[in-house]
């Protein structure tokens, strides 16, 4: 199975006049421009590199939105829903985690994480997911796994909140006030994404 969109002619943003104003405003902000205040240039680069692997996404605009979402969430005073005891708060965990990944990269390949090949970056993430990186400076199995989970959660949330990705996957997107008239199996409303002829 390929990684191409089955709906190349569909653009969810072309439907935006049908959305309620609040939703339209919220969604369009994901297209930028973004003003970063919390994450340094290097930290943004790290998040983007990680997101490239986690979300399998190559477009810089989408990756920048993902980094911006991470920044927004880390800057919020609200809680993080749940955390394991002994694991630092999310912001601390993630920012320290970026440094740790860089240090691990330097220890193993004598260069920073961002200078690694993509396949090497991917391998780091696969190890992080199961807690398989060196257990130094408090980075035990549990903490590595939690870092992976929190990062993956933020990155994937942002990725599938981007309207370009909605278009690609053939998601109807915001549907208020219009709703759906034809919901039965096999039926679609005239404006919904349709597969391209050749697929």
């Amino acid at each position: 199975m390929g990684l191409e969109s089955l709906y190349p002619d569909y653009d969810v943003l072309a439907l935006q006049d049908e959305w309620d104003a609040n939703t339209r405003q919220i969604v369009k902000q994901r297209l930028g421009p973004f003003e970063f205040k919390l994450l340094s240039h290097w930290q943004q680069g790290m998040i983007k590199a990680l997101a490239r692997q986690l979300a399998c996404e190559g477009r810089d605009e989408v990756l920048t939105w993902i980094a911006f979402h991470v920044e927004t969430e880390l800057g919020k005073p609200q809680g993080e829903a749940q955390r394991k005891p002994g694991i630092p708060p999310r912001k601390e965990l993630i920012l320290a985690g970026l440094d740790a990944l860089d240090n691990w990269a330097k220890a193993k390949f004598f260069k920073g994480f961002l200078s690694l090949k993509e396949a090497q970056q991917l391998e780091f993430l696969q190890l992080l997911e199961v807690g398989g990186l060196p257990q130094e400076e408090g980075w035990d199995v549990e903490r590595q796994k939690e870092l992976f989970k929190k990062l993956a959660g933020l990155v994937i949330t942002a990725h599938y909140s981007h309207p370009w990705v909605w278009s690609e996957i053939g998601y109807g997107g915001p549907a208020y006030p219009r709703g759906y008239v034809r919901v039965e199996l096999g039926l679609v409303d005239p404006w919904e994404p349709k597969q391209a002829e050749w697929s």
Binding site: G79, E80, Y160, V165, E168, Y171, Y180, V183, G186
Partner: protein, 540 residues
């Protein structure tokens, strides 16, 4: 991103007055008949019923008074703001996820972003000890709740099938069943039919025809993000505004931090915090309806010299016997488009595996739901709960319109070790954060395995392949269970605490067992029954 903050933080609401501050209180400084902590499913019903009976009542809610038109959006990410996001420490083999997965924050509580599946419990759910030799019996039976189930269904016009084949209630429902059903629901029903499993259209707290100035559902599928057209019931749009019309006062963005106790050991009201300032509300009766984590937390955090182990806790059981439902999702790919995003998420269900059948090797059972999905929900859970990310996830999501999904609602047996306690960490009010421990037991695991297998069979029978499973849980119940014996339960059959005669605890925390059905109709029926009892007591 300077996301527009459209929530208007008015905090005081009564008699057509609304104030962004607490300087014009209706009942400030007075002792009211009752104060209710938390205006979710239970709190909303209690507020309404008590106000209707002419009692002076104040509802205090930690979150905002949402305006669906400006505060909700057709967007998954935005909807995360509707959840109770305060950090809870989560431990155990199957540590629970909170936030949007579990609790709402704001008027309506969990009903704002619930899916609207509206079930009665079965008769057996109240007698698990007697029938299956495990857990505990409730101090009430199905018959005690039956009139309240009927009352709630009628009041909010539940829509449902002409004939509901399971449990003690077979319909009819006040409003006709939803029609048409979604592609995903259709696939589920076809798979069930091929295997001889009975299925029906879901009973829903979602309108199938106009009611009370509200339109029927337009099938946007955003029920878990808050319903914009108000087709889905919530106490935010039903009970609470009606209660205000009947004289109740509602305080929002007000976090109750302590229940106050006099020297004689009776409660006298609550302390709450608004915008960094502490206030008090005096009341003859205090009702805690803050949901399964915050209710025990508040009772424990209200420890005082009279009750050093926390309020209503002479049994030591406050916080214990917490139960989620197992809520595993099974996805399978089809050759035709299913389009999981369309239509009310749950439109078809089966309870053929609800009751104990010992030949399966475990007791109790589960419900099965054809369950829609949206991209963020599907992708994030796949990545964090099932280890599906990167290229594999992208490939699945590029074909996500070809996936169908069935979700399990599995009974979880109560265990004392699954509990809410106080942690060492403090929140912004200086109160210890909740720590929640959870692990499935052996029976729960067997039940889950059976349920997953059934989901896979149904999907395969309908033509699905390449199935994958995303472990998940849903709903929370227990933590202040009801019972006859004060040494083994926290409240009596009317949700009154055994220890303190004017303290009531009424929400999902009083559940003794979890059943295999979504809990909110039972929460609301219990609240209506408790309200009747409080009103009757007041008249005496």
């Amino acid at each position: 991103m300077a996301e527009k903050v459209s929530v208007q933080h008015n905090c005081d609401h009564y008699d057509r007055e609304r104030h962004p501050h607490l300087r014009k209180r209706k009942y400030g400084g007075q002792e009211v008949d009752a104060v209710i902590v938390g205006l979710g499913a239970a709190g909303g019903v209690l507020l309404y019923e008590l106000a209707k009976a002419g009692l002076s009542v104040v509802g205090i809610e930690a979150g905002p008074f949402w305006d669906p038109q400006t505060d909700f959006a057709s967007d998954e990410l935005h909807a995360q703001s509707l959840a109770w996001n305060d950090t809870r420490l989560s431990t155990g083999q199957n540590a629970l996820q909170f936030g949007a997965n579990n609790s709402g924050r704001g008027v309506g509580g969990g009903t704002v972003h619930f899916t609207g599946v509206f079930y009665r419990f079965h008769e057996s759910d109240f007698r698990v000890r007697t029938l299956d030799g495990a857990a505990e019996d409730w101090p009430i039976t199905y018959a005690d709740l039956a009139p309240y189930y009927a009352k709630i269904e009628e009041e909010i016009k539940v829509s449902g099938p002409r004939e509901f084949p399971w449990g003690a209630f077979h319909g009819p429902y006040p409003y006709p069943e939803r029609s048409p059903i979604s592609g995903n629901a259709e696939i589920f029903r076809r798979g069930c039919a091929a295997l001889g499993i009975r299925s029906t259209v879901a009973p829903l707290a979602i309108l199938s025809a106009p009611f009370d100035g509200r339109p029927p559902c337009i099938n946007r599928g955003f029920c878990n993000q808050g319903c914009l057209p108000n087709a889905k019931f919530s106490t935010l749009i039903h009970h609470v505004p009606k209660a205000i019309g009947l004289g109740a006062e509602v305080l929002t963005d007000c976090m109750v931090t302590r229940i106050l106790v006099d020297k004689g050991g009776r409660v006298t009201g609550v302390e709450f915090n608004h915008d960094g300032q502490f206030y008090a509300q005096k009341a003859k009766v205090v009702i805690v309806s803050a949901f399964a984590v915050e209710t025990p937390r508040l009772l424990l955090n209200s420890a005082c010299s009279q009750f050093p182990e926390g309020l209503a806790n002479s049994s030591g059981l406050v916080g214990k016997y917490l139960m989620p439902h197992s809520g595993h999702d099974v996805y399978a790919r089809f050759d035709q488009e299913i389009r999981l995003y369309k239509g009310t998420p749950v439109l078809a269900v089966s309870q053929d595996f609800y009751e104990t059948d010992l030949s399966r090797g475990f007791i109790r059972g589960y419900s099965l739901h054809a369950h829609g999905a949206r991209p963020v929900g599907m992708a994030v859970k796949a990545a964090t709960n099932a280890g599906i990310w990167g290229k594999k996830l992208r490939e699945i999501m590029l074909h996500w319109n070809f996936y169908a999904r069935i979700t399990l609602v599995g009974e979880v047996l109560p265990e004392a070790t699954n509990c809410v306690t106080l942690s060492e960490e403090k929140d912004e009010y200086g109160l210890p954060r909740a720590q929640v421990h959870f692990a499935y037991g052996e029976n729960d695991q067997k039940l889950i395995a059976h349920g997953i297998q059934k989901c896979q069979e149904i999907l395969a029978a309908a033509g699905g392949r390449d199935a994958f499973v995303v472990p998940d849980s849903a709903h929370l119940m227990g933590g202040c269970r009801m019972g006859k014996d004060p040494s083994t339960s926290v409240v009596n059959e009317f949700c009154r605490s055994h220890d303190i005669p004017n303290l009531y605890i009424c929400d999902a925390s009083v559940f003794v067992t979890s059943g295999a059905a979504n809990p909110t109709e039972t929460v609301m029926a219990l609240a209506a029954r408790t309200a009747d009892q409080i009103i009757a007591q007041g008249k005496r």
